[in-house]
Symmetry: C2
C-alpha cells in the first residue's frame, strides 16, 4: 500500500523534474492536467481531457488544456497518435509500444513487441537524420468489423 503510493509519487516527481528542466512553471492547471493524463486510458482528444478536468477544476479553459497538452508532447511527457486528418489524439502510455489501426472503425489499439522497438535503421537515413523514435502502425480490419466487411474486398483469387 505504502509502496504503491510512493512509486506513484516518484513517477509524478519525475515529471515535475522535467517541468523544471524545461523551464516550465508548476501551476495548478498543469498539475491537474498531468494527473488527468496519467490516469487516462486509450487515446483521448484534448476535448475529452478538458471535459474530465472540468469536473474537479470547473473554470479551466480549453485553450489552457490544449496548449498544455501540446507542451507536454514537446517535452516528451506525452505522445501524439499518428492520425489520418481527424481530431488530434494524445497518448498517455509512456511504455514503448506500437499501434494497430482499424480502417473501418478507426479503432486504435496499443500493442507491445520488442522486435519493432529495435528495428535496424537504413544507412541512408542514418546519415541524414537523427532518429529518436520508431513507430510501427499495423493497419487493417479489426475483429469487430471483420464480419461486416464486404466479402468482395477479401483477398481471394478472381
Amino acid at each position: 500500500m505504502i509502496k504503491r503510493k510512493s512509486i506513484r509519487k516518484i513517477v509524478f516527481d519525475n515529471f515535475i523534474k522535467k517541468f523544471k528542466e524545461s523551464n516550465l512553471k508548476i501551476t495548478p492547471q498543469r498539475i491537474a492536467i498531468l494527473e488527468q493524463v496519467l490516469s487516462s486510458q486509450g487515446h483521448p482528444s484534448a476535448e475529452e481531457i478538458y471535459n474530465k478536468i472540468k469536473k474537479s477544476y470547473p473554470n479551466i479553459s480549453f485553450d489552457t488544456v490544449n496548449r498544455t497538452l501540446l507542451t507536454f508532447a514537446d517535452i516528451g511527457i506525452l505522445d501524439i497518435v499518428e492520425g489520418t486528418g481527424d481530431v488530434r489524439r494524445f497518448d498517455p502510455n509512456d511504455k514503448s509500444h506500437h499501434h494497430f489501426r482499424c480502417k473501418k472503425c478507426e479503432r486504435i489499439e496499443d500493442f507491445y513487441y520488442e522486435d519493432y522497438d529495435k528495428l535496424e535503421i537504413p544507412e541512408n537515413i542514418k546519415e541524414k537524420f537523427n532518429i529518436k523514435k520508431i513507430r510501427v502502425i499495423l493497419e487493417g480490419i479489426c475483429d469487430k468489423c471483420i464480419s461486416s466487411y464486404s466479402s468482395s474486398e477479401t483477398d481471394s483469387n478472381p
Copy 2:
C-alpha cells in the same frame, strides 16, 4: 518515346478499371483530379491539389476535390499520410515505402526499405486483426534542422 507514353496510359487505364470495379462514374472532375494527383510530388493537402487543378479547371469546387481524394483513398489509389493533428495530407506515391518525419520542421520524407515491408506480425495481433498494411515511421531531426537544434537536447551524459 512511344513506349513511355503507352506505359503511362496503361497505368492510367488501370485506375479507370478500379473506378469501374468500385462502381464510380468516370467524370471529367475525377479524371482531372487523378491526373493532378499522379503528377504530384511529396504529400499535398487537398487545398494544394485544389489550387493546382483550378488552373486548368477553374470552376471545380473544393468539396469535389476533397471528397474525390477521400474516395481515391478508399479504393486504394491514394494513401493518407500519418499526421499529428494538422492538415490532412495525401500520398500519391504508390510504391511501397515508409516515412521519415522531422519533429522540428514537420518535413516528411519517403524512403524505401524492403525489410520493413515484410516485418513479422506478432501472433496476438494476427489472431484478432486482418492486417493489410505495415507502416514504419522514423521520427527525429532532419539534417536541415540539426544545426539549429538546441545542444541541451542532445543525447549526452548529464
